[in-house]
Structure formats: structure tokens, C-alpha cells
């Protein structure tokens, strides 16, 4: 058996020239892509007028904050109880927001799915309005709802419902459109109506996927529900923003720790539930 050496490398190169020829076209494309990305990056830094001289000062100050943060300390037991209550509000906001958003989005998603309602105009209209709702951040919805129902977690719940309505509408309708249409055709062929086809042919396929998406959003909503308190919509964000503004770093780190623990436990539970519902399948 001959070993791989220079000689037979040359002969291999001779026999398969296309494998050894540098692919200038592809390399050029890749270099150009990376170059453009880097150029835009530099342009962004220049355009945003990022003060690099403040970077070192800021890092020192940040280090000081971090040092002041340990050990995490709520101050007193009464304070800790207030924080736990705020945490409960946050979880409630995430839970009811996700639930309400999902319940409202489901019928609209059916309207927005091309294989359920075959009307192009309805399809386009619902899609675009869902996109509009989705384009507005939860924090902005929270600002608006605070004006309607006043300060407090209820405004937060309504805000999460609004922004989830948009996201779920899109996700659900995509999942519904990706469903296999044969079961539905089977129901129609056996004499069922269009509604029967949806109920017995379509829904059994998509419900597990939708549930898994809802659970996934519950996780991510717990994260976003921690911040809508910043505009006054209840939950732990209100406390956190306040403690940051008055530079009570030990309380800040306690609150961040609480958030971390809560989010990762919800992560864990909903991950388990998701696998129980759908198995180790990827969410579309």
C-alpha cells in the first residue's frame, strides 16, 4: 500500500484538477460578504458616534457596581416578601398573557391559513394586520394599556396578550398551512363538511405543535414580563428599575437572581411538558 506523499499528491492533483483548483468565484463572494458586513459594522460605530474614551471609564465603574452587588441581599424579610409578590405578578402576567394571546389568536390563525380559508383577500388582510400588531413591541403595548386600565399588572397582562396575539397568529397559521391535507380530504370524501374536515382532519395534526409553541412562548414571555414593569405595568421590573435608579446594587443582584431562578425553573418545567406533548421534534 503506497503512502500518501508528494508524488502521488501531484498525480492525484493531475487526475482531479477541479478539486484542487482554488474556487475564486466562491472565495470572492465570501470575502465580499464578510467585507461588506465589516464595513457596515465600522460605519455603524462611526455613525452612532460611540465614545471609545468613555469605554474604559465605564468598565471601571461597571466593575465597581459588580463589586457592590455581592452578596445579593434584599435588605429585610418584609422587602423580600414584596419582591416575591412582584415575582408572582410577573409569572401571572406571563401565564395569562400567553394563554389569552393563544386563545384569541387561534380563530384568527385559522382565517389567516390558506388551506382553511381559501380567500386571498381575507388571507392577506389578516396576515398584514397580524404583522402590524407583531411589529409593536410589548413595552409599547404596555405603555398604551397603562393609559387604558391604569398602572399595575393587569395592564401588563393585556400588553402581553396583544403582542402574543400577533406572534401566535403568524406561528399558528404557518403550522396550520404546513399540515398534511390528506386526512381532511379523507373526511370530505366520507361525506363530512368543510368544518368537519377542519375539526377531524386538521386540528388533531396541529394541536400538539401549537401547544408546544405556546409553552415555548410562556418561557420567553416570562423573560419579557420581567421588564414591562419599567413602564409601570406591574411585576418585578418595576422594583428592579427602581433599585437600579437608586443604586441599591445588593437588592438589584438579589432581584436578578430571583429572575434567573424563576426563568430557568419555568424553562425546565415547560421543556418537560413540551417533550411530553410533542416528543423531541423541532418547532417549526
Amino acid at each position: 500500500m503506497s503512502s500518501f506523499n508528494f508524488e502521488n499528491q501531484a498525480s492525484i492533483a493531475e487526475r482531479h484538477p477541479q478539486l484542487f483548483r482554488p474556487d475564486w468565484w466562491n472565495r470572492g463572494k465570501i470575502t465580499l460578504g464578510f467585507g461588506a458586513a465589516a464595513a457596515l459594522f465600522v460605519f455603524g460605530i462611526v455613525q452612532l458616534d460611540i465614545p471609545f474614551h468613555r469605554l474604559s471609564d465605564g468598565m471601571v465603574r461597571l466593575g465597581g457596581f459588580l463589586k457592590l452587588m455581592v452578596p445579593p441581599d434584599p435588605g429585610s424579610w418584609a422587602q423580600a416578601l414584596i419582591y416575591l409578590h412582584a415575582l408572582g405578578e410577573t409569572v401571572a402576567i406571563a401565564f395569562l398573557g400567553t394563554l389569552g394571546g393563544a386563545l384569541l389568536a387561534f380563530p384568527v390563525a385559522l382565517l389567516a391559513a390558506r388551506n382553511v380559508v381559501a380567500n386571498r383577500i381575507i388571507h392577506i388582510l389578516t396576515r398584514r394586520s397580524l404583522d402590524t400588531i407583531r411589529g409593536v413591541d410589548t413595552l409599547i403595548w404596555a405603555l398604551i394599556w397603562v393609559g387604558v386600565v391604569g398602572l399595575g399588572p393587569f395592564a401588563g397582562i393585556l400588553a402581553v396578550i396583544c403582542s402574543d396575539f400577533g406572534s401566535f397568529g403568524k406561528l399558528f397559521s404557518e403550522a396550520i398551512e404546513a399540515a398534511d391535507k390528506k386526512p381532511g380530504e379523507g373526511v370530505l370524501a366520507a361525506g363530512g363538511s368543510h368544518l368537519h374536515g377542519i375539526r377531524f382532519g386538521l386540528l388533531p395534526q396541529v394541536i400538539p405543535i401549537l401547544l408546544s409553541q405556546v409553552l415555548y412562548y410562556f418561557e420567553s414571555n416570562t423573560r419579557s414580563a420581567t421588564i414591562i414593569g419599567i413602564v409601570g405595568a406591574g411585576g418585578i421590573g418595576l422594583q428592579l428599575a427602581e433599585q437600579i435608579r437608586v443604586l441599591e446594587w445588593q437588592k438589584v443582584s438579589f432581584l436578578i437572581l430571583l429572575i434567573l431562578i424563576t426563568v430557568s425553573s419555568i424553562d425546565w418545567v415547560s421543556g418537560k411538558l413540551r417533550f411530553a406533548i410533542i416528543g423531541r421534534r423541532e418547532i417549526a
Binding site: E89, A92, T226, I227, I259, S264
Partner: protein, 295 residues
């Protein structure tokens, strides 16, 4: 001629029907139990979250009224003048929107690079040491879980007002989010190229460069684009805490009841976000299509 339909003996049929009824009943019971738990949880959450449906019913009119109030006055005879009056701040707002996009872009790229470096350290199939994997994963988790606005609040105190805290906050959050997604991609790759590079004497860096990166790059770019989309939304509200972008003007308009400004800025944000969504979705589908074709 009549075709023979095979008929079950009555007893056998009864048995099958009974089993079916049992199976269905078990399923129904599970469904009812689940719904009960769900309703109980919803009630508890409602109590916790101060849900007040009567107040909502009484005040709901304010919600559409708010949007009606923000609608600009248009009359047919002077539509053009009305339009320019409504969008009076357009030059300023476009500049701020551009800033917002750049904050999102710079933050996403910086975070993406950090996530790219860290994700290989967080993949159990590339790193033998359990400690490194564990520590990297926890670091990524902290970066991901703490909301970017909270980072921004803290950074505004450290670095002063402006775009810098916004960029840093987004970069850190993106590091966590992308690092995790990247690591999941890396853990699912084909092991043969890695073993091949290792067998021919490649160092760890070479294993990553020639064994792992070619398999994951298109997926990485797709995830980064998706994250960019999310970060544009995030950057739009960074201004709420003074971290640059259009959010500053929006929250001022909301707080000071400059109603028509609110609608104008919201419209601009929504249109921008939609455009970005549209473009990145196109690019992502092409990237994933490329990968599918290559296999």
C-alpha cells in the same frame, strides 16, 4: 349483484366497542383534568395579576379611542399639507430609525461573534472537559435570561446616555441567545468530519475550522438574521431608558400626549420592522434552501 360486507359477530363487535369507549373515556378524563388544572392556574394568576374584568369592560372604549385620538386629521382638500404636518419630524425620525437599525446591527454582529466563539466551548461533542462546557453554558444562560433593557439600565449608569449602552446591552443578550442556539446546532452535526480532521492530526482549532464550521455556517447565518430581526424590535425600545434610537422620541410623545407624533413614529417603526422581516425571511429561506440542496 350485492357485494358481501363482512359482518362481525355481535359479541366481538361489542367487545371492540367497549374497548373503544374505555380508550376514549381515558382520553376525555385526561382532557378534563388538564382543563381543570389550566382553569385553576388561570384563576390563581388572575387573582395575582389584579385582573379586573369589570374595569376592563368599563374602560375598554379608551383603547380604540386612543388610536382614534392618535390618527392625524386629514381633509380631502388639504391632504398634502396635512400629511407633511403629520410627518413634520420625518428627517429627524428617519435618522433616529437609522440609528436604531445600526444599534441592532452592531449589537447583533458583536454578540454573534462572541456567541460564535463561545458556542464551540459549550458543545459537549467538541470539548472533552465537562467543566468548560458547564461554565460556558451557565454564562450564556445568564446573558440570555437577564433582559436587555435591564442591561441597558445598568450600562446607562456606567457609560452615560447614548447609543453605547444600547449596543452593549444588545450585544450581551445576543451573545447568550445566539450562543445557545449555535451550540445546539453544533451538537447536532455529523461527527465524521471532526474525527477525520482529528485522525489526520489536526489541532482543536483546526478541528473546529475544518470539521465543524463548514457544516454549521449557513444555519448560523440564518439564526443570526432571525436574531437581528428580534433585535430591531428591541433596539426600538432601548430609548425608553435613554440608550439611543427612536424609543426616546416615542416615549416622550406618549408621555406628553403628542398624539399624532405617537401614530407617526409607531407607523414608521412598524413599517421598518416589516421591511426587515421581509428581507431577512427571503435571505433565510435562500440560505436554508442552499443547505438542503447541498446535502
Amino acid at each position: 349483484m350485492r357485494t358481501a360486507v363482512p359482518e362481525f359477530p355481535e359479541a366481538r363487535l361489542q367487545e371492540l366497542a367497549d374497548r373503544y369507549a374505555v380508550a376514549v373515556a381515558a382520553k376525555r378524563r385526561r382532557l378534563w383534568l388538564g382543563s381543570l388544572v389550566l382553569i385553576a392556574a388561570a384563576l390563581a394568576a388572575g387573582w395575582m395579576g389584579d385582573v379586573n374584568l369589570r374595569m376592563l369592560a368599563e374602560n375598554f372604549w379608551r383603547f380604540p379611542a386612543y388610536f382614534a385620538g392618535t390618527a392625524p386629521k386629514f381633509s380631502f382638500s388639504s391632504a398634502w399639507v396635512d400629511l407633511s404636518e403629520w410627518l413634520w419630524g420625518l428627517p429627524r425620525w428617519t435618522r433616529l430609525l437609522g440609528d436604531t437599525l445600526l444599534i441592532a446591527y452592531v449589537g447583533t454582529l458583536a454578540g454573534g461573534i462572541c456567541g460564535f466563539v463561545l458556542c464551540f466551548l459549550a458543545s459537549a461533542n467538541l470539548v472533552k472537559s465537562r467543566t468548560i462546557v458547564f461554565v460556558t453554558r451557565r454564562v450564556l444562560e445568564v446573558c440570555r435570561t437577564v433582559p436587555e433593557i435591564v442591561f441597558a439600565l445598568i450600562f446607562v449608569l456606567a457609560f452615560g446616555l447614548g447609543a453605547l449602552p444600547g449596543v452593549l446591552a444588545i450585544a450581551i443578550h445576543t451573545t447568550g441567545a445566539l450562543g445557545k442556539q449555535f451550540a445546539e446546532v453544533v451538537e447536532n452535526i455529523d461527527n465524521n468530519p471532526i474525527e477525520g480532521v482529528a485522525a489526520s492530526g489536526g489541532s482543536w482549532i483546526q478541528i473546529v475550522r475544518f470539521g465543524a464550521v463548514p457544516q454549521v455556517l449557513s444555519n448560523f447565518v440564518s439564526y443570526a438574521l432571525l436574531r437581528f430581526e428580534i433585535n430591531v424590535r428591541g433596539a426600538a425600545v432601548m430609548g425608553f431608558v435613554g440608550a439611543g434610537g427612536i424609543g426616546q422620541d416615542l416615549i416622550e410623545a406618549v408621555r406628553k400626549f403628542y398624539f399624532t407624533d405617537v401614530s407617526a413614529i409607531l407607523l414608521l417603526i412598524v413599517v421598518t420592522v416589516m421591511l426587515i422581516d421581509f428581507v431577512t425571511e427571503r435571505v433565510r429561506h435562500r440560505l436554508l434552501g442552499l443547505e438542503g440542496a447541498g446535502r
